[in-house]
């Protein structure tokens, strides 16, 4: 067994081979196959046994997924459940009861149940701890009222992770509790939120007397801030960089350059090369970050990575329009639709330019990320705070 411990990649390969020997993806029904894969601990390689994993190093996940892809196995359509897989699952694993993990993790991973996130509110954007959505205890249930915003997949989601205020008399960070909310509750009203591109990729969600059993509380009453932060840290780490040179937006712009000599101009050339170098360095920075994470050296560099990603996507898409000139003045379609996923490459340059503006706002604004780096990494003094220790109820809004 000493050999297996020193060769987790080999151990994983053996597990997959054994599973595939008894489960033929060519003949099994898709959902049965996925459930069996979960039950065999071959879903999330780093999750514990019994919850879809084998407790192996997380760095092996790409290997695992590749082995199944090479065998022609169906995947769990991860792009349709980004919030569930990236944020809800690790949080449920970390803070959930045995019953919660048993109930939620398998259908989440197989894609049977899509999840969304009910965190942001009109008055609680960067200042997430300021949420005003109220949850009031009523016997074994909580009654929730409030308004959430910037919810992707709310119209397809079966469940939501939700932060609500359970005690307004405590200071803002202390009065929050984290719930798993059933989106089928009749008090949940999902309305598409149209954005700058013309699409409604996000939703507003109005909660009116929504009833949540106390068994769907995640973590202790009043412990919502800690649980929510764990969720957000998962979000920021999840924004990785591409492993292959010129993947992503820089590749699109480079292709335009190569295919359209008639559009070239020395200034745009200089700007393209500068951004090409920065994108390549960002790729390497992402690789280095993943190497650190694989060694168990996670750091707050995920925030720096996200800052860079947002800046580059914005500068590159802006440059692309200047390069295109006349074609950049034209747009594909302003019609409001509700897309399932965000797809930069499948749209025109104008869409990319507009959509990229959100990259420095969603999932923590660039300003908040700079605060995090300055305070948590560099140890610089925090901003003077007037709102930290007073009851939330008394704060001006």
């Amino acid at each position: 067994m000493a050999l297996a411990q020193n060769d987790p990649a080999g151990e994983l390969r053996r597990h997959v081979a054994a599973f595939l020997a008894t489960h033929d993806p060519a003949t099994m029904e898709r959902l049965s196959f996925l459930r069996a894969r979960y039950d065999a601990g071959l879903a999330w390689v780093a999750f514990p046994s019994g919850h879809g994993g084998l407790g192996l190093p997380g760095a092996l996940q790409p290997d695992l997924d590749r082995l199944f892809a090479e065998a022609g196995a169906p995947d769990n359509n991860p792009r349709a459940n980004i919030i569930g897989l990236g944020m809800a699952a690790p949080t449920i694993l970390a803070f959930g009861t045995a019953e919660q993990k048993e109930r939620y993790l398998r259908p989440l991973w197989t894609g049977e149940e899509i999840w969304c996130q009910l965190f942001s509110e009109p008055g609680a954007g960067s200042d997430l701890a300021n949420v005003a959505t109220r949850a009031v205890r009523d016997g074994d249930e909580w009654v929730v009222n409030g308004q959430k915003v910037w919810t992707s997949s709310a119209h397809t989601a079966r469940f939501a992770i939700l932060v609500a205020r359970t005690d307004p008399d405590l200071p803002k960070h202390a009065g929050l509790t984290y719930f798993l909310c059933d989106m089928a509750d009749p008090g949940v009203d999902v309305r598409p939120l149209r954005q700058i591109t013309g699409e409604a990729e996000f939703n507003e969600v109005f909660l009116t007397d929504v009833r949540i059993p106390d068994a769907q509380r995640l973590g202790p009453e009043g412990g919502g801030w800690k649980v929510a932060n764990a969720t957000l840290n998962n979000e920021r780490v999840a924004i990785g960089a591409a492993a292959v040179r010129e993947s992503g937006i820089v590749g699109l712009v480079a292709s335009t350059w190569r295919e359209h000599p008639e559009l070239r101009n020395t200034e745009l050339h200089a700007r393209l090369l500068k951004l090409w170098v920065e994108a390549e360095v960002a790729r390497l920075t992402g690789q280095r970050l993943r190497q650190k994470l694989a060694l168990g050296q996670p750091g707050p560099e995920g925030s720096a990575m996200k800052l860079t990603f947002a800046r580059l996507s914005q500068q590159l898409t802006g440059l692309e329009l200047e390069l295109l000139g006349e074609e950049g003045l034209r747009y594909s379609d302003w019609t409001m639709v509700q897309p399932e996923t965000v797809d930069f490459a499948g749209h025109d340059a104008g869409y990319r330019y507009l959509r990229a503006k959100g990259n420095s706002i969603e999932g923590g604004t660039s300003e908040i990320l700079r605060n995090i780096i300055a305070e948590r990494v560099l140890g610089l003094p925090a901003e003077p705070r007037v709102d930290k220790h007073r009851p939330w109820r008394e704060l001006a809004r």
Partner: protein, 368 residues
């Protein structure tokens, strides 16, 4: 180079106030936003109010020819306000570009265009820089025009198109009624200056100018010089709206506008806008005065103000946070206008490349 007045005259301030009042009444963000969904009911009445009722269609036309006899300085102020309101009216295309061409030709169409009764547009891609290769359709011996001109601004609102057409050795300009052309509106990045593709199929033209290239370039240069003022207006809206929002918006128990990192970015934006004002005013004044420095002034202004307006709109979106990304809030209208304006009439990169020629800073060796 130093004598031009870079400030606003009292007359210009009065003009601004009048136009701003009218736009505040008629040109609401909701009505402007509706043009993106194909509801253009705002456009015609607004243009009538601006062009005919306020008489701005004839701003650049001498009083003797039925116009207001004003100068490019006043036209610049009009464009500042139209930019500030993101107004979807063909002032630049009809009252500046087409009007300058008709003035140059002494054309009979001028009084009707000056009164706002008729609207005209030059059939050329909006992206064309004043010094760039000019698109021109083909012509035959009977002055019939054939060809396609893509991405024309103002064509959808025009009743007369001014069409550059190639003759044996030069470019001539013909007037063509829109009824004789096919004008296909294009889904545009900036729907407040919606483009159209114009197709001519043996359309009968009327000769306006036989040797039109110098006049067309002059009109495009004037438009570039004045578009800088529109970009200034866009920038000012962005700064003022963002500052006002950040004074109200609270996070972490404080007005967001009190956070120093944002204050410094807004201070830098203010600095940029004060600079843009100088550049735009100088270009307008040089145009009004017929100053020989106009080519430099126009390219400097279009390059600087074009980039600055995009920065201003991008900062407005970012500093508003999520609300700035919504369809409901008007910030997106200004980002689209700013980005489209940057690409219109030559990108900043094209204008800087042209400046290299004008001020002897090329890549080429001397004498090469």
């Amino acid at each position: 180079m130093t004598a031009l007045n870079l400030l606003y005259t009292d007359i210009e301030d009065d003009l601004r106030a009048t136009l701003r009042d009218l736009l505040a009444d008629l040109c609401t963000p909701a009505a402007v936003s509706a043009v993106y969904d194909g509801d253009r009911s705002l456009v015609a009445p607004l243009w009538k109010a601006v062009a005919a009722d306020l008489g701005l269609a004839g701003l650049l036309v001498p009083e003797a020819l039925g116009g207001a006899g004003a100068s490019a300085r006043e036209a610049a102020v009009v464009l500042e306000e139209l930019g500030r309101a993101s107004a979807p009216v063909p002032f630049l295309t009809s009252a500046v570009v087409a009007t300058m061409l008709l003035l140059n030709a002494g054309d009979d169409l001028l009084p009707a265009v000056a009164s706002g009764e008729r609207t005209a547009a030059l059939a050329i891609p909006l992206s064309t820089a004043p010094h760039a290769l000019l698109a021109a359709v083909a012509t035959d011996s009977q002055q019939r025009l054939t060809g396609v001109v893509t991405s024309v601004a103002g064509a959808a609102e025009a009743d007369t198109l001014l069409v550059p057409a190639s003759t044996a050795d030069r470019i001539a300009l013909y007037a063509v009624p829109v009824a004789s052309a096919s004008v296909a509106p294009v889904v545009s990045l900036d729907m407040t200056r919606q483009l159209a593709d114009v197709t001519l199929d043996y359309a009968q033209g009327r000769l306006v100018l036989a040797d039109a290239e110098p006049a067309i370039r002059a009109a495009l240069r004037a438009a570039a010089a004045l578009l800088a003022s529109e970009q200034l207006g866009v920038s000012r809206w962005c700064l003022e709206t963002t500052v006002a929002y950040l004074k109200e918006r609270r996070q972490f128990g404080r007005p967001v506008g009190g956070f120093q990192a944002l204050k410094h970015r807004l201070a830098d934006l203010y600095t940029g806008i004060e600079s843009a004002a100088a550049a735009a005013r100088y270009a307008a004044a040089a145009l009004a005065a017929g100053d020989l420095d106009l080519p430099v002034a126009a390219s400097v202004a279009k390059a600087f103000c074009g980039d600055l307006a995009v920065l201003a709109a991008e900062e407005a979106i970012q500093l508003h946070g999520g609300i700035g990304m919504t369809w409901e809030y008007p910030a997106h209208l200004y980002l689209k206008r700013a980005k489209a304006d940057q690409l219109a009439l030559g990108t900043p990169a094209e204008h800087r490349a042209q400046l290299a020629e004008l001020v002897d800073l090329t890549m080429r060796a001397p004498g090469a």
